[in-house]
């Protein structure tokens, strides 16, 4: 981000499938916001980052066990 000033990034917050979807949507936002705060702490420009939540809507791993859930609790960085 610091080296590549022309690019912006969407930080997606994701959750595992456990729990209820609206609460997970809020959790995903907190996860994305935390990741963005960490990036800002490292010197990245906040104006070029957007934090959004997908809650449990976009699982990375479709497994219904801890291994799958661990994969799904994540922040995804998408270059724009």
């Amino acid at each position: 981000m610091v080296a590549n000033t022309a690019k912006s990034v969407v930080i997606e917050g994701h959750c595992d499938e456990r729990g209820t979807s609206e609460y997970n949507m809020a959790l995903g936002q907190r996860r994305a916001d935390s990741a963005m705060d960490a990036m800002v702490g490292l010197g990245a420009d906040q104006a070029r980052m957007t934090a959004i939540s997908y809650g449990e809507e976009k699982p990375f791993d479709t497994g219904h066990d801890e291994a799958g859930w661990a994969q799904n609790r994540r922040a995804h960085f998408v270059e724009q």
Partner: protein
């Protein structure tokens, strides 16, 4: 037999008098209104006679009306439906033998005939109690294409007559389905019939809900590349967005107003905000303390139940809309979400994730008393929503594998699938019909 029945059903006569109605009115009323209020928990034993008809056209209408009325009354879970006994009509003159109703244990008789007037169906229905007293005699008419609506109008009148309350007939349910491969908003009738797709976002649509007057639909989707809350005027089709960055989930309309409350995070925390129907923010209702989500209003709009993590795990809290005072409602369990305040104001449903990982629906008094578990042993049961008359609850469940919609009576009995539809269905919200 009679005295036993009378312990279940007490008759309370309310004479409204004879109203002279112009012949042009679609539903004529003849005779007197009599409201019967159930005092017991058992169902009303009703003898439902086949609709009489002469002629091929009329017979086809009668078959359709019979199916609608039987299905409608059965759906409510209020009735024990009985076929008419063989001796329901006197063999000599064909008149009703009302004594036969009591002989088979019926409380109520309902039956009638359909005729053709100017090419259109006219359903004439009569209702008697077991003593032979006439409770209702009314005509229902409309276009041939409206046969289902004609039958359901009689069902609505019958339930109102026998319970003194409004019914589910004529109400709608909005929900999310991924039938097309994308999650879109759909609407169906109270019994799962007449499914209509309302959005074509080709993204992820979530948490649809209709305003208490039936005029507005609110939901969120990702069509703009990020989550956004949309409000659509269902009559004009005009659509506005709330357009704040961050999360925007689980809107709930404040009864009697064109304002809604939803979770936004553009000021940092996931807090609840009051939003006007034009998409602008009126005021912020909660501040700090973690996540505040999933609002649901008391019927008078003065209080709001919602989920908050202000005291650790997610629990249901109640905030007074005027004073801003907050009290915690749920103390049982560690993960309580998705409150739904009953139209009668006395109960709040919520979903609780239990130690086993299973999610179940609970009912609790608005004062925190009378905790009752409504689902169990059937995987994840979520997102309870009351019918506008407070008699039934729609929810989603994974009890048969895929997430589908189910309904149950307010006390948790009579649980059954709502509709047959491809894909998964979730987030049902029961609403009035405009």
């Amino acid at each position: 037999m009679r005295s036993t029945r009378n312990t279940f059903v007490s008759l309370c006569l309310v004479l409204f008098g004879l109203l002279l109605m112009p012949l042009t009115l679609k539903a004529e009323e003849v005779g007197e209104y009599i409201a019967i209020r159930k005092t017991g928990a058992s169902r009303i034993a009703i003898v439902l006679d086949k609709t009489a008809a002469k002629g091929d056209k009329e017979s086809a209408w009668a078959n359709s009306l019979n199916a609608t009325i039987k299905g409608g009354l059965d759906f409510t879970g209020l009735f024990n439906l009985m076929s008419a006994p063989l001796n329901i009509r006197n063999s000599q003159d064909g008149t009703l033998n009302l004594a036969s109703i009591a002989s088979v244990g019926g409380d109520i008789y309902a039956g009638g005939s359909v005729t053709k007037k100017s090419g259109k169906p006219v359903l004439e229905m009569q209702v008697f109690d077991a003593s032979g007293k006439s409770l209702l005699r009314r005509n229902y008419s409309g276009e041939e294409s409206q046969l289902r609506a004609i039958g359901l109008r009689f069902c609505a009148d019958l339930v109102e007559l026998l319970t003194g309350k409004r019914s589910v007939f004529g109400t709608k349910i909005v929900f999310i389905s991924n039938r097309t491969g994308n999650k879109e908003v759909y609407m169906c009738d109270f019994d799962g019939e007449n499914v209509v797709q309302l959005t074509n976002s080709r993204s992820i649509s979530l948490t649809p809900t209709v305003s208490s007057d039936g005029n507005y639909l609110a939901w969120m989707d990702y069509t703009s590349g990020r989550p956004n809350l949309y409000i659509k005027n269902l009559a004009t089709g005009a659509k506005v967005s709330v357009n704040k960055h961050g999360v925007c989930i689980s809107p709930a309309w404040r009864p009697g107003t064109n304002t809604l409350v939803t979770t936004l995070s553009y000021q940092g925390d996931q807090d609840l905000y009051l939003i006007r129907a034009d998409g602008t923010v009126e005021r912020r209702l909660t501040k700090g303390g973690g996540i505040d989500v999933s609002p649901s209003f008391s019927p008078d709009g003065s209080k709001m139940a919602f989920v908050s993590t202000r005291q650790g795990g997610p629990h249901v809290f109640i905030q007074d809309m005027n004073s801003g005072q907050v009290r915690r409602l749920t103390y049982s369990g560690t993960y309580n979400t998705q409150p739904s305040w009953s139209p009668n104001g006395d109960k709040i449903l919520y979903s609780s994730m239990q130690k086993s990982g299973e999610i179940n629906i609970f009912s609790i008094g608005a004062d925190g008393s009378g905790l009752l578990q409504l689902t169990s042993g059937s995987r994840n049961n979520e997102y309870p929503s009351w019918s506008p008359d407070g008699s039934m609850i729609v929810f989603s469940s994974t009890r048969d594998g895929k997430r589908k919609l189910y309904v149950m009576n307010a006390d948790g009995t009579n649980q059954k699938p709502l509709l047959r539809m491809e894909g998964e269905q979730q987030q049902p919200s029961w609403s009035v019909n405009k």
